[in-house]
């Protein structure tokens, strides 16, 4: 069954067609790679799915329910998390506070009550430990290294237990050792039932992490399938070389 269904999605910015009649189907439990040359519209697809920018045409359904027109906070509340291409965390909050910001479902009662704080803090610490950054819990976000921010961002997104997580270049600007750790975290979270849609330039990373790939060029889906097939596909090679 498809967890997320994107149907004939389009978006233009002035004269630029960023996303053009794009359809995607993300099966539950998968790790799908979304690849394509620079400027092919990958980030824009993420921004459309998560409600950051309005679509021009098309529809998006999460668990068979249309999420088109909902704001980012609602979409996160429904169970779709995301990270940003350049890791974004809250610089003036501590790492632990960063973990406590995510709101699962907006209900005023839960926000004002302090009863669950203890429980939530325990979960946040456990998640930080899981990501191997438990030692920086009391440090300000702004004082963390870029790699630590990447891990913190992913850890925080997981706090509301999203079913689908969109990762925008998780390997970007990260050293090879950390890269392997990030891939490992994603695999373990996936084994725990979380579905991933991953945008990534690093082909090695994508090839050994993803079960399936979708290739975007100039906003259009030009190919898809098993990683090894996609790699051998001449249309894909053309798109990368021609870009």
């Amino acid at each position: 069954m498809s967890l997320l269904e994107v149907e004939r999605l389009s978006k233009r910015f002035g004269g630029v067609v960023a996303v053009d009649d794009c359809s995607l189907s993300i099966p539950k439990g998968s790790i799908i790679g979304l690849i394509g040359p620079n400027g092919s519209g990958k980030t824009t697809v993420f921004n459309l799915i998560t409600g950051f920018i309005p679509r021009d045409a098309g529809d998006m359904r999460f668990k068979s329910r249309s999420i088109a027109g909902l704001g980012p906070d609602r979409i996160y509340g429904l169970g779709i998390g995301r990270t940003f291409q350049l890791a974004r965390i809250f610089p003036r909050l501590t790492a632990l506070e960063n973990m406590l910001v995510p709101v699962r479902r907006a209900g005023m009662g839960g926000l004002l009550a302090r009863a669950q704080w203890g429980h939530e803090k325990t979960r946040a610490m456990a998640m930080l430990e899981f990501m191997d950054i438990g030692s920086v819990a009391s440090m300000l976000g702004g004082a963390l290294s870029y790699g630590q921010r990447k891990l913190l961002e992913l850890a925080a997104v997981m706090m509301a237990e999203p079913e689908l997580v969109l990762l925008d270049e998780p390997a970007g600007g990260v050293n090879p050792a950390l890269l392997e750790r990030i891939a490992d975290h994603i695999r373990r979270l996936n084994a725990g039932g979380v579905t991933f849609l991953v945008v990534e330039h690093n082909m090695g990373f994508v090839m050994n992490l993803c079960t399936e790939l979708v290739v975007l060029a100039q906003g259009r889906v030009i190919a898809g399938g098993k990683p090894e097939d996609v790699r051998a596909n001449p249309v894909v090679l053309d798109a990368y070389l021609g870009a």
């Binding site: 950051f52 509340g77 809250f90 610089p91 704080w117 702004g142 004082a143």
Partner: protein
């Protein structure tokens, strides 16, 4: 050492509370109590302003408008309900807060569609619109002639004391609300909005509702304080109760003490207001204190850009931990993060 760190703030708080409560006994001179009334008023105002401006980072320069709304609510309420002088008018203070909060709701709904500099301008515009309305709705407000309130028949020595306690109660209420917000998930959401609003949305923070709630709470508290002020001075003139300088003073005090901290605005008010009043008394009605304000602003911006409380906290934490890593060791926020701005991608 750890115990000292934990209990020192509580002991300090207790001492401050005792001094604040006993002040009219310790220093019964009416002139001193008058200074204390205004100082406590600004402790409340700066703390209330900080709930919006400090926690969310949305700088309102128009909170004087809410101060005026509260003042008018009290003045009109007393007149229309025929409440005589004495303690009766104080009963209308919660109403002043309620009505000001209700008023702030649509204002915030509109103003909070904008961000950063535009928001600042909108708040100033709203304040001047309220002032214009107060001047021109003569049937309701008495126009520029103002409204007068009944004068309590308390003795000269005692006269200021009830107002001092009213201001003390409101300041305490404001600090308590601010403390509670700072420790709640709601407050954490406000701080997240201050740091990166789009990112906050991406992790489920209902930013629109949170900002509006903070705005309304902040305005309602300011409105209540405006109500007590109106009764204290027994006159409500549009230029006095909706004075842009009142709004700027709150901001200055919060900035000086430490924006977004609980104790910063309190400290800022305790330092600035008595100094400002003594200037006003010693140099007559001249607007010399404006020079003083500008001077304080410059000092804050040049020497203590984050305010007194965060700077001192960093120093003491550095001393406690002998320079070890910790919260204090972090670089000042901002430059190390890739442009938050209002652009979504990349």
């Amino acid at each position: 050492m750890n115990a000292a760190r934990r209990f020192a703030p509580r002991v300090a708080l207790l001492l401050v509370a005792i001094v604040a409560i006993l002040l009219p006994v310790l220093e019964p001179n009416p002139a001193s109590i008058n200074v204390a009334v205004f100082t406590m008023m600004y402790v409340g105002l700066a703390s209330a302003w900080n709930i919006m401006g400090g926690y969310t980072g949305y700088i309102s320069l128009g909170h004087a408008g809410f101060f005026g709304l509260g003042a008018y609510t009290l003045g009109l309420g007393v007149a229309h309900l025929g409440i005589g002088p004495g303690y009766g008018p104080f009963a209308l203070v919660p109403l002043a807060g309620l009505l000001t909060g209700l008023f702030a709701l649509p204002i915030g709904w509109i103003a909070l569609r904008t961000r950063a500099a535009t928001f600042v301008i909108v708040t100033i515009a709203v304040m001047f619109m309220l002032q214009l309305a107060a001047m021109n709705l003569i049937g309701l407000t008495g126009g520029t002639g103002g409204l007068s309130l009944p004068v309590p028949r308390w003795s000269g020595d005692f006269y200021n004391t009830p107002f001092y306690y009213a201001m003390l109660i409101l300041a305490s209420l404001t600090i308590a609300v601010s403390w509670w917000i700072r420790r709640s998930k709601f407050g954490l959401g406000l701080l997240a909005i201050r740091d990166d609003e789009d990112k906050a949305m991406a992790v489920g923070v209902p930013t629109r509702q949170f900002k509006l709630a903070a705005f309304v709470i902040s305005a309602a508290l300011v409105g209540m304080i405006g109500g007590v002020y109106a009764y204290y001075v027994t006159y409500v003139y549009p230029e006095f109760v909706i004075d842009p300088l009142t709004g700027i003073s709150m901001v200055l005090m919060a900035f000086l003490g430490g924006l977004g901290t609980l104790t910063g605005p309190v400290l800022g008010a305790l330092l600035v207001e008595p100094a400002q009043l003594s200037l006003a008394y010693n140099f007559g009605a001249s607007r010399l204190y404006l020079v003083f304000y500008s001077g304080v602003f410059l000092v804050v911006i040049l020497l203590l850009p984050r305010g007194i409380v965060p700077s001192v906290r960093d120093l003491t934490i550095g001393w406690w931990t002998r320079g070890g890593p910790g919260r204090a060791a972090g670089p000042s926020p901002g430059p190390s993060t890739p442009a938050p701005g209002n652009v979504v991608a990349p």
